[in-house]
């Protein structure tokens, strides 16, 4: 009999019905079937130890029957309890046969009594607890507590590197107003071509390219881009048959002149 009783409730047949006159109670007012049983037991006006479990079971079953007759919806656990009580009743009325493995009716009755007593005890305990001088009702804590206030003190962190970097960055920033970055001139191919066409003009003499470009080549920064763009453009002009280009030796000066007679191709 060490297993909890709930499983037992499920193993029993349908309940028998019986009439009783005290059943005007509303099932909604109860905290479950055990609570209802406790209420019914109290109506026997005897100590729980002296109640007639058989009478109690009959009252309960009658109550449930009335509820069902009225077609009131009833929670399943009330029906489970009814089934268990019906079984209990049958066990109580039929003497235990030898070799019967099932719990005896007396054992089941004792179990029910125990559960009712325990529930009643807990209910009384709850009432006693609530009747104690409770905090905030009869007993008070300090009404004006003086809580500990926490002052957060910041411990600042910075490394020497951070400091030096911050300084250096600012000093450099201060100098940047005097500094103008170099604007590198880049001759586009179109630009170089226009200039070459203009400089060579109608000249039919071989003239070195650098001579044509002399005035532009004065600034050393731009020399490379001017030469490169001009040379590339000159090749295009040669392809179009506008000029002729000649070089006498490797890395020697590049001579250019107007090609006579229009669009025939010249040799490089």
């Amino acid at each position: 009999m060490t297993e909890p009783t709930q499983t037992d409730w499920l193993q029993t047949p349908a309940p028998a019905s019986e009439d009783d006159e005290v059943l005007y109670v509303d099932v909604d007012g109860y905290e479950g079937p055990l609570d209802l049983l406790l209420e019914l037991a109290r109506r026997q006006k005897v100590d729980l130890a002296g109640i007639s479990v058989l009478a109690l079971a009959e009252q309960y079953l009658a109550f449930i029957e009335t509820i069902r007759d009225k077609r009131i919806e009833i929670a399943a656990d009330y029906l489970v309890m009814a089934a268990w009580l019906a079984y209990l009743k049958s066990r109580l009325m039929v003497p235990q046969a030898p070799g019967d493995e099932e719990p005896s009716g007396e054992m089941m009755a004792a179990l029910l009594q125990f559960r009712l007593k325990r529930l009643e005890a807990m209910r009384n305990a709850a009432a006693q607890l609530m009747n104690r001088p409770r905090l905030g009702f009869q007993v008070y804590a300090r009404g004006l507590p003086e809580p500990v206030t926490i002052h957060k003190r910041s411990l600042w962190e910075a490394s020497l590197f951070d400091l030096l970097k911050a300084y250096a960055v600012q000093r450099e920033r201060g100098q940047q107003s005097d500094y103008s970055p170099l604007q590198r001139t880049v001759w586009s191919l179109q630009e170089a071509r226009d200039i070459l066409q203009r400089l060579i003009g109608e000249s039919m003499d071989w003239v070195p390219m650098d001579t044509y470009l002399a005035q532009y080549l004065l600034s050393p920064e731009e020399r490379v881009t001017i030469r490169a763009s001009s040379f590339a453009s000159s090749l295009e002009l040669v392809r179009q048959g506008q000029i002729e280009v000649r070089q006498n030796l490797a890395f020697g000066p590049l001579f250019m002149r107007r090609r006579s007679g229009g669009s025939d191709k010249g040799d490089a």
């Binding site: 007593k117 209910r123 607890l129 609530m130 409770r134 009702f137 300090r142």
Partner: protein, 242 residues
């Protein structure tokens, strides 16, 4: 101030008395200033290392005995509270705006007297299913906490009461629960049948052998995880101290 006995420096009785009196004032101020009970460890940090906090607390409690305000022990913590016998005078008009339902009340009593208790055990006593809301409400009130998980199939959560429960109902420990001895004598604290030999007593100490700690994500199931956590954390070191 600390360890003067070890160092065998002669500290005369006057000095000792002065130090003790100063420490008493500190303990008094700390407890008087707080609305929540304080553990002796909370107090110790404000005193010299050699201070015997428990003794100071006992001395202070003695001084306040019979006064309008008493120093009371609630679980492992201490607090100043108005004297119980003045309750009828101080009772405030404002009635309980949040009366506990009968279900919540019964559930609280069952947890208090049967702890550690699982939900199935609570339901077994009440003979009816316990809504999740009822337990949540009790945990929200700060009276009930999840303790751990029972080492049985399904690993059900075990519930117990908190120090705030003791504080609210004016109990020094679970041993002060009303009618505890009678209930124990009648075998009504058993979750089993009366013939069972062992009659358990309610227990709100550290986890028992048949309890596992809560799973990390159990905490998330409650509305106030921090509190549950804190309450649990707070119980352990103190139990060791006693």
């Amino acid at each position: 101030m600390s360890g003067f006995a070890d160092e065998e420096i002669a500290v005369d009785d006057d000095d000792r008395a002065l130090i003790a009196e100063r420490n008493l004032r500190v303990v008094e101020a700390l407890l008087f200033g707080s609305s929540e009970p304080l553990a002796s460890a909370d107090i110790a940090v404000y005193l010299g290392e050699g201070a015997d906090v428990e003794k100071l607390l006992a001395t202070l409690a003695e001084r306040y005995a019979g006064r309008g305000v008493n120093l009371v022990k609630r679980g492992s913590k201490w607090a100043f509270r108005t004297a119980e016998d003045l309750g009828f005078l101080l009772r405030r008009e404002e009635t309980e705006n949040r009366a506990l339902s009968r279900a919540a009340l019964e559930t609280l009593a069952i947890i208090a007297y049967h702890q550690p208790a699982t939900r199935a055990e609570i339901e077994e006593v009440r003979g009816v299913a316990t809504g999740k809301g009822t337990l949540d409400l009790l945990m929200e009130a700060g009276w009930v906490r999840m303790r751990g998980r029972r080492r049985t199939p399904g690993r059900p959560v075990t519930y117990g009461t908190t120090d705030a429960f003791l504080d609210h109902f004016g109990l020094e420990s679970l041993g002060d629960l009303p009618g505890l001895e009678e209930l124990k004598g009648a075998g009504l604290l058993s979750s089993r049948l009366p013939p069972s030999l062992q009659i358990p007593l309610p227990f709100d100490g550290p986890l028992r052998e048949d309890e596992d700690p809560l799973d990390p994500d159990d905490i998330d199931h409650t509305d106030e995880p921090a509190e549950v956590d804190e309450l649990q954390g707070a119980t352990h070191p103190l139990d060791d101290d006693i």
